[in-house]
Symmetry: C2
Subunit: 233 residues, 2 copies
DNA sequence: GCTCGACTGTGACTTTGGTCGCAGCGCTGT
DNA sequence: ACAGCGCTGCGACCAAAGTCACAGTCGAGC
């Protein structure tokens, strides 16, 4: 069992609960349990019955579906302040996907019943939850759009552009950033296989749009890249 | 402007509001506006700013994404008692997808602000909304799973099996049902094109699994069909 | 140093998905 | 009746995705 003060301070950093009074804080913190998961560890699997809400104090979690044939599709990656498994808290069903820790992570856990009760007493929190779930819904719709309308090449480019915008730093030849994981990981996020990621990266390099050096990518021709995104061919 | 009594009775049939008191009913009904949409009409398009919540009194709505190249992907079809555009009500963003009427439909519209206020005063309604949004989230995850792991053939079979279970009636040769729309419509739901639907239907018939007669399908070999679903090849 | 293992690049091939064009069919409206 | 239109069934063809096998590279650990 962690010290309550510790838990409360961790909760404070979570945007979900950002405008609660100190009293409400203590109330919620009293029900939260701190848990630790090491890199690669599973929090739960698709189909498990839902026990409660997980909030990320530190670390990074990956929400994903896996298929019978070993393929994987990442649905979301959540960092500190994010939450996971919000929905079955409210409809009581099983988890629709699995979650594992990308890095060592500190998780705050609040049981289903405690959180429901808390929402009924603090409707603003319920509305915030709706906003959070809504944001996730948007991202899922985005994934569906990419899966059904875009080629692997386009999905890869779109991921690269996003990375360049969020984690890129300007260098002499263009915007530079590091791939967050292996080609395999990236393939899982794009819903495809390793080879296609590798091939397409090389192809983009051959076309002079990017520069690949191990796991470091330099975007040489950003307009050229984005042009790929809305080429209907 | 419709008669208030009319509106209230329509709201009563909606599961979302099933356990409200008569007083609360009147309050909500006072803010609802009845609208009519004819078959094929657009309620709104992806990217429009959100005005409020739409509840289906009668008819059927189709939530879908469409691509630049004319392709479509159906995200959900909602019938009477269902609602549409729940999420931007809470996060204030734009609609993530377009919605059109599959049939002539009566819609109850409640403005964003009115509904937010109502949720704050009636937290149970907010929790119910969360359950509704959660259900939609599950369906989206299901779509993602099918898109990234299943072939068109498998997706088609899965749709056929679902139709057989929900709308099928036993006949001499097997379970019989009608396709709910054209091959084109079905293709949109599966995220593919007409020709593949047509071809795969013919192929399933050639394999002796189903019998196709115009828009009427007879499932001859249900086990054979379901076997396709988990063949990893 | 060396080995081992994880990661990456690549070539050849198969399967699946998608495009184009067209012909036939059945219905509707005039 | 018949012109027109929407829906369906093909066949030929092309592009994208995925599989398999293998070789090279880089680091960690012994």
């Amino acid at each position: 069992m962690p010290e309550p003060g510790n838990v409360a301070s961790a909760l404070g950093a979570v945007s979900l609960f950002s405008n609660l009074s100190p009293d409400e804080f203590r109330l919620l913190a009293a029900h939260a349990v701190r848990r630790h998961f090491s890199q690669g560890e599973l929090l739960f699997q698709e189909g498990d019955v839902c026990k409660g809400l997980h909030i990320i104090a530190s670390g990074k979690l990956r929400i994903f579906k896996s298929s019978a044939s070993g393929r994987e599709q990442v649905l979301a990656v959540e960092g500190p302040g994010g939450s996971v498994a919000e929905l079955p808290v409210f409809d009581g069903g099983t988890y629709p996907a699995s979650v594992s820790a990308v890095e060592d992570s500190q998780i705050l856990f609040i049981s289903r019943d405690d959180f429901r009760r808390f929402c009924l007493e603090h409707p603003e929190v319920a509305l915030k939850m709706l906003a959070v779930v809504g944001a996730r819904l948007r991202r899922l719709v985005g994934i569906i759009e990419e899966l059904s309308f875009a080629t692997v090449r386009q999905r890869l480019v779109s991921a690269l552009v996003r990375l360049a915008q969020t984690h890129g730093t300007p260098s002499e030849r263009g915007i530079e950033f590091q791939l967050p994981g292996t080609h395999q990981d990236l393939a899982h996020q794009l819903g495809t296989v390793r080879e296609l990621v590798s091939r397409n990266l090389m192809r983009l390099q051959a076309e002079g749009l990017i520069q690949v050096e191990a796991r470091s990518i330099t975007v040489v021709d950003l307009p050229g890249l984005t042009a790929i995104l809305d080429s209907s061919s």
